[in-house]
């Protein structure tokens, strides 16, 4: 992690690693493991790094109604890194888009909750899983809102490995061209992709400079500090310029389960062993 120590960010990356989770964050993680235990598999690390980001968006920012998930005037949230879907399912279930008991059927034959999110799930805006698609879809939605005079805001959450995809940067250039101030790109910067450290597999630094160069107004925060997230999304929303926004959220892959934190082995598990489940229970409580 030598590269990481050389990173120049205002956010204290040690505090990101040390961030403690409140009851609600632990509750949402228990929902995630409820699904994993019943489904027998799941992307763990990629979901645990973005729980707080999605939680804050749904709790405090997105104008969405679980009873009317297709209402035209709503804001849109696209989880472009679809493999982080367990966190989205947990938040959607918790907020009443569907019954929490659906989590028990995760990845089952008859379930609508699969290993990547699809629009059959109430509250899911786009089928994702193939990486690098969400920002283009999001900018299409942002343009649709502009064409119809709607005030809808569009948020697109991408992984730090996902942004290796060239299509992300095609979309970034296009969002800049159209001055999509109603579009916010969010980067879940947990600094570990499937094969290992992003700094070894495909370093995207200087990341903030890249988004700035592509015309975005860039913000950053501790992606596990709920107050910090609220503050940064408030600032991004209050920013009066005509640029699209990018929010770089410094996070920890596997956050909340010490054995899983910063551990690529917990990227995806298809057979959680009793000992590992015990580790999860002792970390999250029951």
């Amino acid at each position: 992690m030598n590269h990481q120590t050389a990173l120049k960010y205002a956010t204290d990356l040690d505090l990101v690693q040390q961030a403690t989770l409140d009851d609600r964050s632990r509750h949402l993680r228990r929902l995630i493991f409820r699904a994993i235990e019943n489904g027998g598999r799941g992307h763990i690390g990629p979901a645990l790094s973005l729980v707080e980001i999605i939680r804050v968006l749904y709790d405090d920012f997105l104008r969405v109604d679980p009873a009317k998930p297709k209402q035209l005037e709503r804001d849109r949230f696209i989880l472009s890194k679809g493999h982080g879907c367990l966190a989205l399912y947990a938040v959607l279930a918790d907020r009443g888009f569907f019954d929490v008991s659906e989590l028990d059927r995760f990845c089952h034959f008859e379930s609508f909750l699969g290993g990547h999110p699809e629009t059959v799930v109430p509250g899911v805006e786009a089928c994702t899983g193939a990486l690098g698609h969400g920002l283009s879809i999001g900018l299409g939605m942002a343009l649709a809102a502009r064409m119809t005079g709607r005030d809808s805001k569009v948020y697109v959450l991408m992984g730090d490995g996902e942004i290796n995809e060239g299509s992300v940067w095609e979309a970034a250039a296009c969002a800049d061209k159209h001055r999509l101030s109603n579009l916010t790109a969010i980067i879940d910067y947990n600094k570990i992709q499937s094969a290992g450290s992003v700094f070894e597999i495909q370093n995207m630094e200087p990341l903030a400079d890249k988004w700035t160069a592509f015309g975005f107004r860039v913000f950053e925060c501790n992606g596990h500090d709920v107050e910090d997230l609220r503050q940064v999304f408030r600032e991004a929303a209050a920013y009066a310029g005509d640029r699209p926004r990018a929010v770089i959220c410094h996070t920890v892959k596997g956050k909340g389960i010490p054995a899983a934190e910063n551990n690529p082995d917990w990227h995806h598990k298809s057979d959680l062993k009793p000992a590992e489940l015990q580790i999860v229970r002792s970390a999250l409580g029951s």
Binding site: L72, G129, H133, G138, G140, T148, S167, K177
Partner: protein, 315 residues
């Protein structure tokens, strides 16, 4: 045909405010009148096919009907995953207008020749695949696209193609058209063609009929969904089926017809000969007409093939 399809986008935009045009770095004044009249629904984007497909998907998810246009190879090969996932998986009413189906861009070489576009588009669930034969039929197709609820691939010919279609024969997406008056029943040979290959097949049917060979010609402006009933019925009343397409013989119209007959025809399958582009990239430049002649699916090549196989059947 190309000009008509784009002019029709403007016409449809006047008729319906859901219609949006998205181009990828096309000619400077393309659809200039539409740009003037509906600036907010006219997008000329950069050379970024993956992005414009996703962008069109996002608009379609929120109620728009985007018509996306660029060169056929780029709108199919370059962004295949976006077409599959963003358009087909979501089943969105986005229209892909591909310039230069087949050998239209013969002088520009294999990077610009869409020889497998029908095959790869046809392989995608929910995708509708069309290749009309002339500008007049393009008008009828474009009219029908407005309310078709699925993604559509619209393959374009060169432009200035002779008009052989007739309004009185009707038009509906997914419905084959009998192209020869009085030849809608039993035949010596059943020609099945799509796109401008239908023009070649019609010409061949004329020279064959002059020698007393009864030809029926089914024009499939829609390769998917395929008109299985028409194909099976016509094939059950002929001695020989010959498919003609300006496309690879792998996976295109000929393959679709064979699949249909194999799945649906009860009783003996008539001999089926596929004419089209062999499984190879072009090794010459020249012109569209010259390459069609070279691979023997121009009118003369069709005529020769039909006579040869009918003679073999008589032996």
């Amino acid at each position: 045909m190309r000009k008509r399809s784009l002019d029709m986008v403007h016409t449809l935009a006047k008729r319906d405010e859901r219609v949006v045009f998205i181009g990828s770095d096309l000619s400077p004044n393309l659809l200039g009148e539409m740009k003037k009249e509906f600036p907010s629904r006219y997008y000329m984007e950069g050379i970024a096919e993956a992005n414009i497909i996703g962008m069109a998907a996002g608009m379609a998810m929120d109620g728009f009907v985007p018509y996306v246009n660029t060169i056929a190879t780029f709108i199919t090969r370059r962004c295949y995953e976006q077409v599959a996932v963003d358009l087909c998986l979501h089943d969105l009413p986005v229209r892909l207008i591909g310039n230069g189906g087949g050998y239209v861009y013969a002088p520009l070489g294999p990077t610009h020749e869409a020889i497998e576009d029908i095959a790869i588009m046809r392989a995608l669930p929910r995708m509708t695949v069309t290749a009309v034969c002339d500008a007049e039929e393009m008008t009828r197709l474009m009219d029908a696209t407005l309310d078709w609820p699925h993604p559509i691939y619209i393959r374009l010919g060169k432009g200035g193609d002779p008009v052989i279609s007739k309004a009185e024969r009707g038009f509906a997406i997914g419905k084959a058209i009998d192209m020869i008056d009085g030849e809608t029943g039993a035949s010596d040979v059943l020609l099945i063609a799509t796109g401008v290959a239908t023009t070649q097949a019609l010409k061949a049917a004329g020279s064959l009929a002059a020698d007393g060979i009864r030809c029926r010609l089914l024009h499939l402006h829609t390769v998917k969904p395929i008109d299985a009933d028409a194909i099976v019925d016509a094939a059950s009343k002929t001695k020989l089926v010959v498919t003609v397409e300006e496309h690879s013989v792998v996976g295109g119209l000929g393959s679709a017809v064979l699949e249909t007959l194999s799945d649906r025809l009860t009783g003996a399958l008539p001999p089926v000969k596929r004419l089209g582009i062999p499984d190879k990239f072009a090794e010459h430049y020249g012109s569209q007409a010259k390459l069609m002649e070279d691979f023997k699916f121009d009118a003369k090549g069709i005529d020769v093939t039909v006579r040869k196989f009918l003679a073999e059947l008589r032996r």
